[in-house]
Assembly symmetry: C2
């Protein structure tokens, strides 16, 4: 963590804060006093599971992983620039249920929670949009929890690869911005098995793997592997 700075002005937010347009100019100005931009280097912890959630985190630049810590970590999702890292802590219990760490060099706007709550309370349209985001994020977990509890190794790894291709890199060919261990933590399996299955998929010519470079050669088969679990 380093380089603490105040935004110049949020009025023409260069980070494309979502739903900022629903606030009045005065309200937007007021955010400046309650917002700090912090830069994180790759690997640094942005927020730590269990600590008090006093700030809303908005990812301005870079990519972070949101994961649950335990004997083995479980990466729930990756977050790209332009998204709130999580809004549930804003209105619910105010401690982080997860940890967040930078996958590369990132910038995070940390905005005082209490301030956002006040803005939301007096601006129904704004609150409405925040609630939508929270709801969708909750809905995502229904799928995740069912995938993790019902699918086998191959299906779970296929899920992770499809997630990376479809949601994160939006391309069938991408540089895996993480270690094999992290890929395993996305799929809830041991690192050795993640490697093994990558090798199998490669041998079956469903994907190609060269170091961190991964290309999905047979998208529909990967999809089928994900479906049958």
């Amino acid at each position: 963590m380093s380089k603490i700075s105040k935004p110049q002005s949020c009025l023409q937010c260069p980070y494309k804060w979502k739903h900022l347009n629903l606030l009045s100019d005065d309200d937007i100005r007021s955010i400046r006093q309650n917002c700090t931009i912090i830069r994180f280097k790759k690997g640094e912890t942005v927020c730590k599971q269990g600590t008090d959630a006093t700030h809303v985190l908005y990812l301005a630049k870079g990519m972070v992983k949101l994961y649950i810590e335990g004997e083995k970590n479980l990466i729930l999702r990756l977050i790209k620039a332009g998204e709130y890292i999580d809004l549930q802590t804003l209105f619910g219990d105010n401690s982080y249920r997860y940890s967040v760490a930078a996958m590369d060099d990132t910038e995070v706007c940390m905005i005082n929670s209490e301030h956002i709550r006040k803005l939301a309370e007096k601006n129904s349209a704004y609150l409405f949009e925040l609630t939508k985001v929270i709801s969708d994020s909750g809905n995502y977990f229904y799928k995740k929890i069912s995938d993790i509890s019902s699918k086998h190794l191959r299906g779970r790894l296929a899920d992770a690869l499809l997630y990376l291709a479809d949601e994160i890199y939006e391309n069938k060919e991408f540089d895996l911005g993480m270690t094999r261990r992290e890929l395993a933590e996305m799929s809830s399996m041991s690192m050795e098995n993640a490697v093994r299955i990558l090798s199998e998929l490669k041998a079956d010519k469903i994907i190609s793997v060269k170091g961190k470079r991964i290309k999905i050669l047979q998208y529909d088969i990967l999809k089928k592997l994900s479906d049958i679990g």
Copy 2:
């Protein structure tokens, strides 16, 4: 599903609708036109995974299970009278991500979603409370997903028993209102293993089991089993 009826009046709601007090009398009256009370018998499906979520479900009487359907079902939580069955679908994607079925004879208020959204949009305090409920329900999943993916059989069954004792029946002795298969579906394991572990816990005098009657004899040990996973 049977016995469709309109509420007499929601003004003195006999079902203790949560947060109804935040609405104006006129708004509460307007709900009547958009609300139907439906009775379900034990085992009946209240709502089906995949269908459109056109209504908010409020559980007036009885108990239901909320579960994800698949080759094997996964029961995510039980809901007691006086709670919304789920609010996420109200503001997020509007299809049910889960199925809900009655555990005993129940009554459900089904309120038109669009109507509630309109009330919420013009009443910030009401929306605020709904958002809190949604957020907390999302936060619950962080724990659930981590438990399911990291704990072993014994830890998961201990979780289920503690959940029933602490959250549902609020007593260390209770009648298990479900089959062994359903207990297994709460803990994400096969029915045979749920039975086996119940037997082990009984042999170790941590619980007593007589048919559906379960008594937690050594609460702290069960807690420890849950902790170590």
